[in-house]
Symmetry: D2
């Protein structure tokens, strides 16, 4: 990590989209919830309105279950669609595999993640099919059976599955009778990037269950699991409760998600993040000492730069994660956020330009 | 449940202490956190200050881990002190057993709660000792071995273990080499009731690990697991993460707990709740149609009343849980809160008085 | 434990029915299996014949799955009928609760055993109903939901549920939509005692899934889980495999169970054990220093005797478990077996008679 | 699968080493156990002698725990050395990953197998080191921590790790403070192939815990977990019991393992299997239509042949597993056994020769 955290105004923080605070309009609804009394465990008006607006946004009756973290959303969602001896197929660079400390396996009750390769942190329908069709000479009972497939949208490197790619994966999943889960920690950024509707991005492309992210995009701590077939969600409530994820003051979660989803707020916030990443990527590309590593589809810019420049950013209070280090060069990940400003990016580019000379 | 929830000002809500909102001073610190940027996962100033103040309050170096729910705090704490084949001894009316949908067993990895009896929702050292000393003719390997003991302070009916009672239980636990956990969802109310220091109420009486409650006492959604021997907490972080309980914007939790613990705020909030319960209990006792069922040690009043009165309260927008029903009588639980006002209780008593005539 | 184990011929071993060896006719079939080659994992003639004969014995098409231990049979059976957050209702003195080191909770994935009282180690339909109908004021999601009921036949003290008692329990289970499991570690002894058919003792009385015991009754290490509705057994094979309970040389299990079930061998073996226990009980009853504690329904005799007598048996190489000790008296459990002889019992009674004088 | 199983004498069965029966000398000791009485749960002379002889064979005081299946041995062993959130590093073609239906993950309580590549179904110290040293920019708590390494000896394709290879892997494991497990389902074949002592093959090369196989090499159903540091085995007994793997007539397991290990029986049996595989491989190599795919280090021969030949073997009652199929060719796995005779192999080669013409 470059730089040390503090509340200093002069810091430019591109370490992650979870370093940002909370959108002020969203916060004002949380404040209402904080200042009023309500029945616990979801029996409140914020939660009932949230159900209504979610149905509208996804153009069908769905079941939505707020939780506080992305790992909880993913692990709980998968525990519903995968038996304890089953396998979930996902990308080897997915958050599920790399960044959840075996939460999916814990909630599933001991199953497996079966890892797929593929460029840009995405796997294709073909790669999935090939792995599913590997035949073992042993009878099926010896092998943990495939139960579900999970795709990350947008991926850990900010790339996006196209609607056609998702539909093709869904076809393979359906053929093998597997549920299709989407880890949508950055689904808003992906929807904006694709220019489709939330319904098109999800169930209309074959998604059965969605982890809808919000924490990285302007709220404090709120995500939701959405089942597009409410009948499939039958025992989710028991699973959420026994995971310790049912909030007594449940309106805290709903009062974040309600304004987040209302009036396309979530998509507007994501659009800002995406635009700032575009601005950042284009600006750095102009400087010969920076190489952009992946196309900028959403709100992340991966860049290779001389180690000396990385040190320079550090001295200038510009925060971002770095790793690797290869013949004097280092890799950096810069993440923009719902409240990153054009001016901040300009200032970062100015510093970059100075350091590069 | 009597009455239906809404945001109507005229409701008097004694359904639970989790129906209240958030203390305004606490909320203003949350607001600061919401409006600033910080590094994720606890690498922020709110969290580091929280560690400092917790050490001060408990008069020793401890390890504190914020989480969002009481079930998470309890289940995670027990998973550290109980192996997956072990047993936790607790009261049969405890929250662990009755209200957590097998969360402890899930986090422990399949162990048992071994249930103890005892009046007022408390078990004694004697009852614990007797159960631990039951000898089976079978070799020990057949039986899930005792690993930990958990007491609830205050209990589910608002009663409080005295310091001597805790110390006696601790002696038995230590003799059998068991860890001693305290479910302190209402620990502040108990400390106020006992008139002791937080250190005396916990590790000085033999508690090894504490679930420190805050949600029911003025915050939004924050509890903490405190290990009084930090060495025993070695793998807690991995367990919290894989349970999906590590918040990326971790400052949301810390910014609630910090002002909660500072300047005895938590004890002052609990004191108000306790005083209002006293007022309520004494007031109802004067009315011949109400029988108070348990001594009012903290912030709960259990009362038996004619069914017709319960219906009357319902019509008057007075909310509380009821159950049972026995020859025209019904049981009610009235819970006061950090922000219950003297006036509210007066009004409730006035309504009670009118209904009783 | 009285006495030390050795292979000395002069020992009379009533410690347990698992101290006996293997019936010789059964062993000769195991020998055939040992001396031949066959495909693994149940694709062998012993296993296919076992399926056929089990259907005949139970007068319907069932699914039978051999495993090696009673704990495996119980835990696997329950894992099919109870979700990981659910509860199994059973007697507080059941083998499930007392003698399986939390195996059911492990296989279920973290659920609970909810314990019932009742005399003679049996609970009644009324006790079950009362426990299931306890109403909590909290919403159902907080409490681990009831999923299954398990009865032990014969019980840990050798008592037997009558057909009417089972049918009444089954009615309650069905009303609450719970599966009904029978731990039949000593089912053969119970069937002989009741004088009914295997079908009457099980599915005709409402049992959904049976742990069929054999180990205690003349085989080496073989039990079986039988689902009376084969559709309910769909995922049992995966669960057995991941528990490490699928034998590659599966015919080892089947070659024990096949001769065990053929030509009523199992019932004839159990009949001998029951008769010997009758003989033993009646003989001891005649001696004033022994008090028989429970009626002798199957193959166990519980007896209270002076400590000095217990010591005497020990010196005479008579083995049985003892516990308690109360004003000079001690409790003993004497278990007869498929190969206990009339002569052995006579000799034991003779020793008892000598010691008592 | 080529051919259908039956007890026909004329079948040549190279499907697996688990299709064979039981060595007759071993069986005669099982018979002794079957015909005698003994105390249960390991309190018998077979078990105590087994402990003694195991210490002798491995030239140190060890802890040995018999179980009935290889999956049980592996999963239980790993559950002791890996916490529920941890990872075990193993080869992607290992039995652990491919053939145990997630048993390791179940017993560990939800952890991960982290898969390594490498030729001949072996990974090298270098491959292990590289994977362990991959640095993530995220803090460690997000990633399931490495806890143990497992190697399969001999591997699933019959190849063998050299002593130097094991020692190098052990060095990496020790550097990273990981336990080193050996899945020795075919350890006897490997020891014979390496020409070393059991101690050299295991703890002297850095192995901490061994799954000692026997089932594939002349017994009915018996394996054992051996801890080379008995202190590390402290809670194994509870884990075995709650897995349902503690046999009441425990002598059944010990009476197989005792004669298996006595007087080098296990090594002599494995030697025969290895020699027969050599004979088979060399014979097939002479026939131009067969290509041997891997060097024959132990008791398996992998061979590519025309599909028409495979069909021919089927008609001639020669059983072995086949898979793939590639431009008229198919892959076959031929496994020899402790009781495969020179004559059988000759006959197979004769049939091969006839079919090939």
């Amino acid at each position: 990590m470059i730089g040390q955290p503090n509340l200093d105004e002069d810091i430019i923080n591109f370490a992650s989209d979870n370093t940002s605070g909370v959108d002020l309009e969203i916060f004002s609804v949380v404040e209402q919830a904080a200042k009023s009394s309500a029945m616990p465990y979801g029996d409140d008006v914020f939660t009932s309105k949230l159900q209504t607006i979610t149905n509208e946004i996804f153009e069908k009756r769905v079941s939505i279950f707020p939780v506080a973290t992305g790992s909880a959303a993913n692990a709980l969602a998968l525990s519903v669609v995968c038996p304890p001896y089953g396998s979930v197929y996902c990308h080897k660079e997915s958050h599920l595999e790399e960044d959840e400390c075996a939460a999916p396996e814990f909630y599933i009750g001991g199953g497996k993640l079966s890892l797929l390769s593929g460029e840009k942190a995405k796997f294709s329908a073909e790669i999935l099919r090939a792995k599913l069709e590997v035949k073992s000479p042993a009878p099926p009972v010896h092998h943990s059976p495939a139960a579900a497939v999970s795709i990350t949208q947008a991926t850990e490197i900010g790339s996006v599955y196209s609607i056609d790619e998702i539909a093709a994966i869904s076809d393979v999943a359906r053929y093998h009778r597997l549920s299709l889960h989407m880890d949508g920690a950055r689904i808003a950024n992906a929807i904006v990037s694709l220019g489709v509707t939330p319904a098109e991005a999800t169930w209309k492309s074959g998604i059965d269950v969605l982890s809808l992210g919000a924490t990285k995009n302007g709220v404090f701590a709120a995500e939701a699991v959405i089942f597009f077939d409410p009948d499939k969600a039958a025992d989710f409530e028991f699973r959420r409760k026994r995971g310790g994820h049912l909030f007594s003051k449940h309106r805290f979660l709903s009062s974040q998600l309600l304004p987040y989803l209302e009036e396309n707020k979530w998509l507007r916030l994501a659009e800002n993040a995406n635009l700032r990443a575009q601005q950042l990527g284009k600006g750095l590309q102009k400087l010969s000492q920076f190489s952009i590593l992946h196309e900028v589809d959403t709100n992340m810019v991966f860049v290779k730069m001389p180690v000396s420049l990385a040190d320079g950013f550090k001295r200038k209070n510009c925060l971002f994660y770095t790793w690797g280090q290869d013949e004097g060069y280092i890799f950096g990940r810069l993440v923009t956020s719902f409240n990153t400003t054009e001016k901040e990016v300009d200032r970062f580019l100015e510093i970059a330009s100075q350091l590069a000379n």
